[in-house]
Structures are given as C-alpha cells and as structure tokens.
C-alpha cells in the first residue's frame, strides 16, 4: 500500500510537471510577432477625467480608424496604474495607453514601453521640459499628450459676497491667508485642495524648495524651505480656512468649488472641462498661484501616449498616437474638456483662444515637473499619506520621513 501511494504521488507530480513545462507565456524571451495586415484591431486604455474626455478620445480614435481602415476599442480604466502594471506582468497590455509621468520611469525601466520617439519628425514642437519627462536612457520614449499646470481658481459669487474685488486677488502667501480667512463662513471654506503632494508641493516650490535636486540625484526633502512651506499650509489648515477636499465630502477641488463648498481651490486646467460638464452655472476665475518667499512656483503634470513593447500592432499604434497628438486634435481636446496642448505651437493658439485659461498657460514657463525615478511613487504615496495628516502632524517629521524613504529609491532607482 505505501508503495502504491508513493507511485501514485509520483505520477501526479510528473503530470503536473509536464503540464507546467508545456507552455510559457512570459514572452520577453521571444520577440512579439507584429501584425502587418491591412485591418488591425487596436485596444486603447485611458484614464478619463469624465464623459467629455472619454467622448473626445473615442471620437478621435474612430476618425483615425475610419481613415486608416483599422478598428479601435477605447477602454476607460478605473485605476490605470494598477491595470497597466497587471497587464504588463501578464504580457497582455493594451496597444496604446496613457502613461502617468510618475509611473513612466517604472514602465520604461522594465522595458514595457516601445520607444517610438525617433519616428516622430517634429518632436521638437514639444517643450524641452516635457520631452525630458518622457525620456529614458537618452531616448524619447513616448509623446506627451497634453500638459497641465496649477492655478488658483476662485468662485466669483462667493468672492463678491465676501465684499472682495478683482484687486484683492492674492499674490502673496500673506494675502492668500487673509482672503481665505475672510471667505470662510458657514458651509463655505476659503480654500479647498486635495491633500496630496501634487497640490501642497506647489507651496514647497514657492518657498524655494522641492523634493529632490534639479537632476534628481539627491533628496532635498528636509530643507528649511520645505519646512517653511509645510508650516504655512499647516497654519492654514489649523485656522480652518484651508480644508482638504475629502474633509468637505468631495473628491477633488473642482467638486468643492462647483458645490459652493469652497471659495477657492488649487487645480489644473482640467478644471475647465470638469466645471463645464458638472457645474456649468458656477462662475469662476483662474489666477496665478500666489508667490511665496522665493517667488512664484507651480507644478506641471503630463501624461504621454505609451505604446506597448508587447503589442502586436506597434506600427499601427504609433500611427494612431501621431494622429492623436496632432495640433488639430489637441485643439479639439482643448475645446472638449479643457486640457492644454503639449505642442508649443498649439499652446500659443490655445492661450489666444482661451484668455480665461491664461493663468494656466502662462505657468508652463516656470512649472516644476514631477519626480521621474523608478520606484519613487511608493515614496510619494507615503508622503501623500503623511500630508493627509498635516493638520495634526509635525512638518519636520513628515519631511524627514520623506527624506529617509526617498534616499534608497534614488540610489537604486537609476
């Protein structure tokens, strides 16, 4: 009996081994075969800011499909970072997709992105700062699909109601503090922002600090400038004239502004699209962020159109991306949901066409781009977590933790 048992077990094991050995789809060993047929089917994954953006991208993709004879399916990701990471590991990525600048380094480092920058003849039309954000190993990997900066958006009605005029638009930290306090009344909070480094970071920049040095080789998180910025934000939080969006039951600053819960918010130009779609009746004005002790400062964000290394339709995908990043299409997107074009030529046209978005367009000149070191997003996630507790936390300790957490990532990241 024990003998038989052993044999049976052995047979089972052998069967399992055979099954295991028979196929392996970890495809990086072999080259992905390219589809060269006339009619190809492409899948595109985007992270949409709302129905307007989804519709604009779908329409553009459909137009390209009609023109090229291919077909395209556009999917909207609910959590694009997680869905992309999983699809890269599973070697079943969509053909083209949005890549967030904070994730770019991870994907490029892992070889998941197909670098197509050398196939773009007029790549110079994209600003140097944007191109730098999406360059890995000296190669431009993907094209920035748009650009965004932060500005201060003000609810006109609430502003007037508080007896303020255009002259009172804050230009310094001290003025911001005064008007925020004055606007805070009842259900209205003077300033509502998202409690994350992508907003609070602007204050660090205005104080003359930033998370890393310019070439991202050293952490500079625990500088006195950064401490000063966080102290300032904390003082606003403690006074109640600044609240985080989730404290007033909203998902983001635009929602707070639209629901009249916030008199001011700090948001990017995507705000125009969101407000048009959800709160078309709410009037607001965008002004540059007030300057801090070290002058003006704001943050820039961008996403690029990634093409998957594992895609079987790279050529077609690059062609689609070219179509989607043309000046015409960028202006269409701007019209539809208010994003700013990433092409310098189109940006000028945009600034002319939309004077109300001047504050955002102008800010591209001095905006700080994101940290693009692979493995760094985990550090920033933790920083965001700590910033959420800023009201009761110790700014020095938060920054010291950031410094400590970031150092290993910088040394191993690149």
């Amino acid at each position: 009996m024990p003998n038989r048992t052993a044999i049976a077990a052995l047979v089972t094991c052998a069967a399992m081994m055979a099954a295991t050995g028979c196929s392996s789809s970890f495809g990086s060993d072999e080259k992905t075969t390219q589809d060269t047929s006339e009619k190809q089917h492409l899948t595109v994954l985007i992270a949409s800011s709302g129905d307007a953006e989804t519709k604009a991208v779908k329409d553009a993709a459909a137009a390209w499909a009609k023109q090229s004879g291919n077909t395209v399916t556009v999917d909207v990701a609910k959590d694009i970072n997680q869905q992309l990471a999983q699809s890269f590991a599973g070697h079943k990525p969509p053909d083209a997709f949005y890549v967030n600048s904070d994730q770019f380094a991870n994907y490029a480092q892992g070889g998941s992105l197909y670098p197509y920058g050398d196939q773009i003849k007029d790549a110079d039309d994209f600003s140097a700062q944007l191109r730098a954000s999406f360059t890995h190993d000296g190669k431009l990997v993907c094209l920035p699909k748009d650009t965004s900066t932060l500005a201060l958006a003000i609810n006109d009605d609430l502003w007037k109601k508080a007896g303020l005029t255009a002259k009172d638009y804050p230009t310094t930290w001290a003025e911001l503090k005064t008007v925020a306090a004055r606007l805070t009344k009842g259900d209205v909070t003077g300033l509502v922002i998202n409690g994350e480094y992508a907003r609070v970071g602007a204050f660090m920049k205005q104080a003359g600090g930033w998370i890393t040095n310019a070439d991202q080789t050293k952490m500079t998180a625990d500088s006195t400038q950064n401490t000063q910025a966080l102290n300032y934000v904390q003082s606003l939080l403690k006074s109640g004239s600044l609240k985080y969006a989730n404290q007033v039951d909203t998902n983001w600053g635009g929602e707070a502004l639209g629901k009249n819960k916030a008199a001011m918010t700090i948001e990017g130009n995507w705000l125009t699209g969101g407000m048009k779609a959800d709160y078309p009746d709410v009037k607001y004005t965008a002004v540059p962020l007030p300057a801090g002790p070290a002058g003006t400062g704001t943050l820039a964000f961008s996403q690029c159109w990634g093409v998957a290394q594992d895609s079987g339709h790279r050529a077609a995908a690059v062609d689609l991306v070219k179509y989607l990043t043309s000046s015409t299409q960028m202006m269409k997107n701007a019209d539809a949901f208010g994003v700013m074009p990433s092409r310098t030529s189109a940006l000028a046209e945009y600034a002319k066409k939309y004077p109300s978005a001047k504050a955002w367009a102008d800010a591209t000149a001095y905006a700080q781009g994101p940290v693009t070191v692979s493995g760094f997003d985990k550090v920033l996630t933790q920083f965001n977590t700590d910033l959420a507790e800023l009201a009761t936390g110790d700014p020095k300790k938060i920054l010291a933790d950031l410094q400590r957490n970031g150092e290993p990532a910088l040394t191993t990241g690149e």
Binding site: I7, A8, S24, D51, A77, D79, A89
Partner: protein, 299 residues
C-alpha cells in the same frame, strides 16, 4: 394571563410562561429595531437608485425620491447617450457565463471526488483526503499573487479559461459530498453491483440520483460563491471585456474622480448585482442554511 400559561404548561409548551406585557412590548421593540438594522440599508439602496445625484447627496435618508428618475438604470442598460464606461450588460453576461460553468464543474467534479473518497478503495485515498482538508485551510487572499503567476505561465491570464478553470473544484464542496455519500446506506450500491453495474454506472444512475438534496445544496452554494467571487477575477483578468459584476463594480466604486460621486448609479449596479443571489436565497433559503452549517447535509 396565569391561566393561559398554566394551560400552556399543561400542554408542555411555553414551559417558562410568557414574559409580562411590558417586557414583551419592550422585547418586540428591540427585536424590531434589530431587524430594521438589517433591512434598512437595502431599502435605502433601493430608494437611492431612483434618485438624482444631488437628491441622493442632500437627502441620504429620504425614503421617497424628490424627483424620481430611472437615469441610473438607463445608463446601466445603455439606453441613455450620457457617456458610457459602465458596460453593465457585459458584466452581467460575464458573471452569468462564468457562474454557470463554474457551478457545473463544481457539481460534477466535487461529487466525483467526494464519491471516490467516500466509497472507492484506491491507493493514496487517505493521503488525498488529508490533502483536501489541508486545501480547505488555504485562504484565497494568500493566493492572489500565486494564482496570477500560474495563469501567466500557462498563458491563461486574461482569458475565460483562466477565470473558470481554477474555480471548478473546491475542497469544501468535495468535503460536503464525501460526508453525504458516507451517509447513504451501502446496501443500495451493493445491490446494483450484484446486478452487474460497473463503478461508473452505479455512481451515475444509482448514487447521484439519491444525492439530489446534497447536489442542490452544492449547486446553489457554488452559484452564489462564483457569482460573488471577486479576488480571483481581480488577479485573473485585466481587460474590460472580462469584467464581471464584482470586478466591474469594485473598480467603478473605488476608482476615480470626475462626474461626481454617482451614488445612484453605483447603488443601482450593486442592487442589480445582488438580485440573482437574492432571488435564489428567498426561494432556496433552506439550502443556504445548510451551507452555513456545512456538514449538515440531511438525507
């Protein structure tokens, strides 16, 4: 009152008599409140699904929508042009497809394995039963990454096969079936065998028909389990074309900004996702109860 309780005692019922009236009223009130605690969330869900977004935000408790609307349902069923991103019918189709196949697989394979473990003598049986018991202890949450790895290796990631095949056998189901088959008198099978029926025929035409109550329990629990399955589908798929009600809804709810909170939409989707299992539950509650008491498979 006392006469009543005396009568009750004489009948051997209500031996402890009844509570005094005041206590009884209090007791009923408490019990009713407790019952409400379990029902009200579903009622609120039902009502809110017919509200507009602002109405849902302003009157979260209002039991009558101020401006009733079926906008959420129209959007779910693709009747409105108001954008998309919620391919509800696809979720529903995927959930139904996967649940049906998984259920069929579980009922067949679990009863086969259960029968073999209960009745057939073969080398390694004890070992295998020990294996089943060990497998029952392995929590699904610890299998997230392992399952992903193996599906990936076999090229089953992001396929229906990868979603269905790993769920087709479950140790607890085998256990239930084994317990049940052991409770069937052997004489029936012996008679069949004396009449010349082989192992498979005995199993298929004698034993299985006798196992109908257990099979029904297994069917219902399997369907409920695979309909509500979330973690496996989360790691087994990536594309939206394979989203089920659970993964689709989870991503809709946990994800993103834009378009406000959309609670009526989310709650309507959650409601529709609950309905099939709820219908089963109210028709076959007995079997759910048996499931909760796992081994209690009656003849």
């Amino acid at each position: 009152m006392s006469a009543k309780s005396a009568a009750a005692r004489a009948q051997g019922r209500h031996v402890l008599g009844r509570f005094p009236l005041s206590l009884r009223v209090l007791g009923y009130a408490t019990v009713a409140a407790l019952g409400l605690l379990y029902i009200v969330p579903f009622v609120i869900q039902l009502v809110t699904a017919f509200k507009t977004d602002p109405d849902a935000a302003a009157h979260p408790l209002g039991l009558i929508p101020t401006t009733p609307t079926t906008a959420a349902y129209q959007r779910l069923f693709g009747l409105s042009q108001d954008g998309d991103g919620v391919p509800f019918l696809r979720w529903l189709g995927n959930s139904a497809f996967v649940a049906v196949l998984v259920t069929a697989g579980r009922v067949l394979f679990d009863s086969m394995a259960g029968y073999a473990l209960a009745r057939l003598r073969f080398p390694g049986r004890t070992l295998l039963f020990g294996f089943v018991l060990a497998v029952m202890a392995v929590p699904m949450v610890a299998l997230l990454i392992p399952r992903f790895l193996v599906l990936n290796t076999f090229g089953l990631f992001d396929t229906y096969t990868g979603m269905i095949l790993p769920l087709m056998v479950d140790a607890a189901g085998i256990f239930i079936m084994k317990q049940f088959f052991e409770s069937i008198p052997r004489e029936v099978e012996e008679a069949a065998r004396v009449d010349g029926a082989g192992v498979f025929r005995t199993f298929w035409s004698i034993v299985l028909p006798m196992a109908r109550p257990a099979l029904l329990t297994l069917t219902i629990l399997s369907f409920q389990g695979s309909w509500n399955e979330f973690t496996h589908f989360l790691v087994a798929t990536q594309s939206s074309q394979y989203e089920t009600l659970t993964t689709g809804l989870a991503r809709l709810v946990s994800g993103g900004l834009g378009g406000g909170t959309q609670y009526p939409l989310k709650l309507a989707a959650a409601l529709l996702a609950t309905l099939p299992v709820a219908a089963l539950f109210f028709c076959f509650q007995r079997y759910f109860v048996q499931g909760a008491n796992a081994g209690a498979v009656k003849e």
